[in-house]
Amino acid sequence: MQISRRGLLAGAAVGGGLLVAWSLWPRDYGVPLTPGRGEWAFGAWLKLGRDGVLTVAVPQLEMGQGISTLLPQVVAAEMGADWRQVAVEPAPVSGAYPNLPLAAKWAPLWMPLASGLADRPDDLVARRWAGEKGFMATADGTSLAAYERPAREAAAAARAMLCMAAGQRWGVDYEQCEAQGGLVMHGSKQLAFAALAEEAARFDPPDPPPLRSNPYQETATVGNPSQPVAYPRLDLPAKVDGSFLFGGDVRLPGMLYAAIRHGPAGDTELAGYDIRAGARALGLKQVVKARGWIAAVADTWWAAERALDALAPRWRTEGRADSGTIDRQLEEALTKGEARRILTRGDGDSNLGAPTVTYRYDLAPATHAMIETASATARMADGRLELWLASQAPAQAREAAAKAVGLSPNDVVLYPLAAGGSFDRRLEHDHAIEAAVIAAEVGAPVQLVWSRWQEMIAGRPRAPLACLASAWTAREDGTPQALRLRVAMPATTKEFGARLFGNKTAVAAREVAATGPDPLAFEGAGTPYGIPALAIDHVAVDVGLSSGRFRGNSHGYLAFIVESFMDELAGRVGREPLSFRMALLGHDPRLAECLQRAARLAEWDGGAGQSGQGIACWRIGDPEGEGPVARIACVATARAGEGGVRVGKLSAAVDLGRVVNLGIARQQIEGGLIFGTSLATGSAVTFADGLPAEAGLGALALPRLDDCPEVVVEVMRGDGPPADPGEIGAVVAAPAIANALNSAAGLRLRRLPLLSEGI
């Protein structure tokens, strides 16, 4: 049945605002924004006040990546607004903001038995599901792919309505009016958005909205890395004076503070605690306990934390996570386990006989180590739960919290806050459930903050893995003609999906860790190279440790393995690693150009003669598809020195397609390269008897200012849909550094972090 847009509009107008029909949905989710006095909603995205403030609702989590600037910028450019009039607020959980590309991509996770039905973003099944669930997760670099177009269409509709209002006043056709700098203009006449807001809201927008002919684009001036920023980030002023609120900064009347303890990693149950010693703790108000945790509620967070010391909880833990066990299980799965084929290209590895060369690569579990620990504030009153929370998947967090306290999700209000870093850690929401349970039991507003130790003991690190990389190479020049990766690792994406969409506990979710295959854990396994035959095998294994999403995800480990291996293949036959790669990139000239430009930036010397230079490249996205593609090449200078790896310099050339905000793109690439460096030098967490050996941030060998490499980034002029700059930098640094160490001293490190083999 065809639903008329006009009908949709009439229904929505009852709510008070006017819905801009930027797209046709199978269902009407209304206008989720509440305009203030003297302010009018222009659809689900925009509010304009008679004071001229244009507020853009952003349905994605700001966690440093700048999305709360990017989407308003898209709106401002399309609408012809003045950047100084633009304000931003987080959008509420609503079906009006479905992340369709991610819903389609993650269909195997929310619809494990029938995912083939919904693997394209325009599929009605994914659409309906994402709308009904309010699925607006921030993940996998999908923000612009999902939201640039709807934001533009909302802005174009609002611009048309403003022009209609001005045109009526002037007695001219609205299509002859233009909007620029927050003014509607016709000939010599002009009217401010502020003056037109109220009248404009009464018009019906044209259908379809009149988009400008080209989406907004910024291009780098060659040789000028510090060119002026056209759209400065909106969030920085509040972040520099302490007024920007994170989850732990909310203050409510009568609020109490909660600290929490989880038992050792494994299947843990609270066995007992010393209530008498706890009762003597200063400021303790209440103890709340569940099967796997105990929380103390007190006047200050520190008092709550001290009370937990006094309570000295005891645990009964089955299957304690242990790094020795993890290594043994990976070893056994790698050598003896039954593999499931993820991907075959050409003839795969059939009829090839024994490979020319096989090396083994290993990754230890890596922890996110964002500086903000899990924090949430909750208030339960009159049968309603309010949650102040930073979440990458707010609808799922809300649903889980609601279920934990026996409410319907409709009786839970989630106020989205920004995150103090995440790197995919905030795709999990254990702390939201805990805060809800504690607030329900205490009967007062409660703020829960995890200690750093809790992040270490109950985190969801990147899954550990072991990989045998094999190649069949041409006799004359060592060029790989077939490549096989046999990877033993938990089915980490399926496990994550069971937690996020199945609302399973960490222990219950691990039941799928040993059930392969997990294709989403191998995205990018096709490698950027034109190698004729490819075989990717997954041996799924439960290693007794819960794992989760992590910045870069599969690209993080696959880039390390493939790019280390490529360097070794070049080295075996004495070929120069840059031209060795170039020869396999004839079908991807853009990536080849990234390599050449990175080499020029770094004054690449071929990596020979103990120069300490290493090179790596990577690509995220499918050039054959319609989605965005990010490409990067990086030259690292590194040496093994006292106390570990010293990375001197990282030079990177990157192609992100069309760039929306060059300043943010540079920030993300720089920051990603440094995050990637932290994965090369540290970030590993090791377990003994269920307890992390690394007690906190100081034990993770994370880079600081004084050992941060010099970073040089060239953002190339690109075309095509805008790719996410957040992950590509983070995945290329570690292999470039590993290759640099090999060049420096012939030291081939095949384990991440590189330190873990002991230098």
């Binding site: 700001e62 980030r233 302490g242 007024s243 732990g248 750093r452 920051g671």
Partner: protein, 181 residues
């Protein structure tokens, strides 16, 4: 009750005197700009200025702060006008912003005692952990702040909070409802 001066005002804390200054500031004084990241001195997100010196407030108790002058990010300036604040925004040396208050306080303490620090001094004065990776911009930002503090340069990157509608209307044509032909 422990008496000290916070951001120029006398304050008495009615908390366990062994409470780290961090939690007295955050939970008793509601000065939440000072951040908790580790509680053991690793991350420096909780850096405040105590009698002119940048200290990690998680490692100082309220009792030890008695009678001392504490400045937090909220007290660095009334209107984001401190050169370090302006320079951090100008260089876009902020991403998630969680480590930013600690960095700003450490840099402000450095410039207060050394108006023209060298690169190595800047690196030594900023041991703060930043996971978003703004490091490549920090030395530039502190050098810019130093030049501004020495009045060799001016910047206005971060506007003051709480601009009135009238002022906005004067500055921005789009926000002036009286902007008619």
């Amino acid at each position: 009750m422990t008496a000290l001066t916070v951001n120029g005002r006398p304050v008495r804390f009615d908390v366990d005197p062994q409470t780290p200054l961090l939690w007295a500031l955050r939970d008793a004084a509601n000065l939440t700009g000072t951040k908790y990241g580790c509680g053991v001195g690793d991350c420096h997100a909780c850096t405040v200025i105590v009698d002119g010196e940048a200290l990690r407030s998680c490692l100082v108790t309220v009792a030890e702060s008695e009678g001392r002058h504490v400045v937090t990010i909220e007290g660095l300036s009334r209107d984001r006008s401190h050169p370090v604040q302006q320079a951090l925004v100008a260089e876009q040396a902020i991403q998630c912003g969680f480590c930013t208050p600690g960095i700003a306080m450490a840099a402000a303490a450095l410039l207060a005692r050394n108006p023209d620090p060298g690169v190595d001094e800047i690196k030594a004065a900023l041991p703060n952990l930043c996971r978003c990776g703004v490091y490549p911009r920090l030395v530039r930002a502190v050098q810019l702040a130093a030049r501004v503090a020495r009045r060799e340069e001016t910047i206005s990157a971060a506007p003051a909070p709480g601009i009135s509608a009238e002022d906005a209307a004067r500055e921005v044509p789009a926000m002036n409802p009286g902007n008619k032909p």
